[in-house]
Subunit: 204 residues, 2 copies
């Protein structure tokens, strides 16, 4: 009698299971306190086996954070696609990102810590995220220029400057610092948005 | 025969000597690796005696960093007092602060680390410094408005926005991050200055 072949585990499936268990650990125990050995034990695997898929704990975090920032990019694209005037889209977009990052800090401290770890260990993924958001901002500025709403010579340069002027409302560690000092970040953002729109040549 | 009274040590003098020895240790050994016991031993004092003057190592660092940022405030006042147009003063001031903070990082890494420690442990002194620089910026904006160079409704609000838009070039940890990633911060600052001047209503 021929035994049915035992199905081999699909590498993609193993990878997905490692990420799932790691994310669950990072969110429950915290990124810093989780070791690759913890993840391996939970999966009934050896740490060496995990390292066949991910060279380090940082590399696991990079994948998880990649998905977290993907969600932000998705709602950013959603706002950019809406049919509002460019200045309104820009205010909505930057406000939504600030509120999202602040809510992560307040309600999902573990996720916040994962992002902070990624900023230190996997800058490439954070850099790519910032560049993506900056490109979305550039698209909105170009629309505003085409509609005569903004007066900007170089939309790519203007988008980089908007991104830089917005750093204190975007950067998780700076938001954390502001909140620890009891500052009203949303009032600050409203002022900053007025300043940014003026720099984009928007008339009152 | 009457012995001459042994002169009592002046508390102000002891305080100054503690600061001097501590600063020497922080710059040579590093802030994190220096303990209050090290400073006490060097001075031939007990740690308890040091604590009569300063409640913690952080409190010692606060005083030392207070002097470091005082130097920055002094050259900022110097630029503000010069007889150049307001926009030129603003560019000079922000450029000088950025170059100063970057040079501290590159050439006086220990001082940079002291400032980073103060940002985490003694926010009040850093906050006071930022507020002072923001007030100097406000003064320059007011001059520019009076001279018809800038078009700004609320100079205090505009100064806060300039400060916020300038954070990535001012904040020691953000400068460090940019430099680790090989970014040209000075080119970024030139772009940002153009953006800031436009937001202040300066015409090309």
């Amino acid at each position: 009698m021929i035994q049915p072949a035992r199905p081999r585990t699909d590498p993609e499936e193993t990878r997905a299971r490692i990420l799932e268990v790691a994310e669950e650990f990072f969110r429950r125990v915290g990124y810093q306190k989780t070791s690759v050995a913890d993840i391996a034990t939970e999966l009934g695997m050896s740490p060496a086996n995990i390292y066949r898929f991910f060279p380090s704990k940082g590399a696991i975090n990079e994948c998880i954070c990649g998905r977290v920032v993907e969600e932000v990019a998705e709602f950013a694209f959603g706002i950019a696609r809406s049919s509002n005037p460019a200045s309104e889209k820009l205010v909505r977009l930057l406000t939504a990102i600030h509120i999202h990052n602040k809510a992560t800090l307040l309600k999902e401290k573990r996720t916040h810590d994962m992002i902070v770890a990624a900023m230190q260990e996997n800058w490439s993924i954070i850099k790519a995220h910032i560049e993506r958001i900056t490109t979305i901002v550039e698209g909105i500025i170009r629309e505003g220029v085409a509609a005569g709403e903004f007066d900007v010579e170089d939309p790519a340069e203007a988008a980089r400057c908007v991104k830089t002027a917005f750093v204190p409302f975007f950067h998780p560690m700076l938001i954390e610092n502001c909140m620890q000092n009891g500052e009203d970040t949303e009032a600050g953002l409203r002022e900053q948005m007025g300043f940014i729109l003026k720099a984009l040549g928007k008339r009152d």
